[in-house]
């Protein structure tokens, strides 16, 4: 009884209502994020249709193997995040910390692969608009536009990943200090919603940037 009372903020009638309010707030925030990324996707669709050959050539310059690998890494991290929420619901502290740590490591792997393999490779190839652009083949200007989209979209996505890694660090610290219980785990679940959302953005970025460039 005592733990339940401590888990309930005074403005709510019961834990059910508190859980519903947290979920509603998080989903509304995610709806604004849908619109944020939606603008980028819309712009990408328009310019891809305007300069189709250049955008398809740009897609083929990206490494599908790294893209697919990173997709798998993110899906793994979503699984471990879902299992972390489950561990929190059941009050299993050890499992919660383990799964949060695994999620953190997978998230860092994703960002690390992106930085160390993809972006560094693009830079050495002279495919970074503004910083190092040496491509002088046909349609160079339009290809540059493709890479602007590529870096902005994957960059904003990676920024969301880094924020997620920060959130996970706080969660691990809180879990370590025993802040969560079967009555009190909303923080873990809402952070999970954010993490899965970032995964969904990548689920769309991967085919749109890497796959639909006529690789056959």
């Amino acid at each position: 009884m005592h733990s339940s009372a401590a888990a309930l903020a005074e403005q709510f009638d019961d834990l059910e209502q508190q859980h519903e309010a947290s979920s509603l707030g998080m989903w509304v925030f995610l709806a604004t994020e849908v619109m944020f990324f939606g603008g980028l996707f819309t712009a990408y669709i328009i310019f891809r249709n305007l300069y189709l050959p250049a955008f398809e050539a740009g897609s083929r310059l990206l490494d599908v193997r790294i893209g697919a690998f990173n997709t798998a890494v993110l899906l793994c991290s979503s699984l471990t995040m879902a299992l972390a929420v489950r561990a929190a619901q059941l009050g299993k502290k050890g499992a919660l910390i383990t799964f949060l740590l695994l999620t953190l490591l997978l998230g860092l792997t994703f960002v690390g692969v992106k930085l160390a393999f993809e972006w560094r490779h693009d830079f050495s190839e002279g495919l970074v608009p503004g910083l190092n652009w040496t491509f002088d083949g046909p349609d160079s200007r339009h290809l540059e536009l493709f890479f602007c989209f590529y870096f902005f979209m994957t960059g904003v996505h990676a920024l969301h990943m880094v924020i997620g890694v920060g959130v996970l660090t706080v969660l691990i610290n809180m879990a370590w200090r025993g802040k969560f219980s079967p009555q009190r785990y909303n923080t873990v679940e809402m952070s999970g919603l954010y993490w899965h959302f970032v995964d969904i953005i990548w689920i769309f970025l991967f085919p749109l940037l890497y796959l639909i460039g006529g690789r056959y």
Partner: protein, 109 residues
């Protein structure tokens, strides 16, 4: 305890489906299907996103209020993309009236 506890097995099943779909979308990209390549890529992406939202994000067990929020975010996304594209892709359907050019010349003078 508020919220629904999902069996571990279901999470792993959903994860396996997501990995299979990733493999599928990647291999389909190397087969020439013409315009259908884009359609296939997007349909598979929507399937994967639906799996994540329904199971990992617990929408399958959530209240109708949360479902309305998710549905309305998709409606707004459709308005954003639909109205923007309906403008951009129809701009040259109607010719520019010939007297506009004369009007502009007159204004410049």
């Amino acid at each position: 305890m508020p919220g629904h506890v999902v069996p571990k097995k279901l999470y792993i099943l959903v994860f396996a489906a997501l990995i299979v779909l990733t493999g599928l979308t990647t291999s389909v990209a190397f087969i020439n299907l013409g315009k259908w390549n884009t359609v296939a890529a997007l349909v598979i992406a929507v399937c994967k996103a639906t799996l994540v939202v329904l199971f990992f994000m617990h929408l399958r067990w959530s209240s109708n209020l949360l479902r309305i929020v998710v549905a309305s975010s998709l409606v707004w996304l459709a308005i954003l993309i639909g109205l923007t594209l309906s403008d951009v892709f129809t701009r040259d359907w109607t010719p520019i009236p010939s007297n506009w050019e004369a009007q502009i010349q007159q204004d410049v003078r």
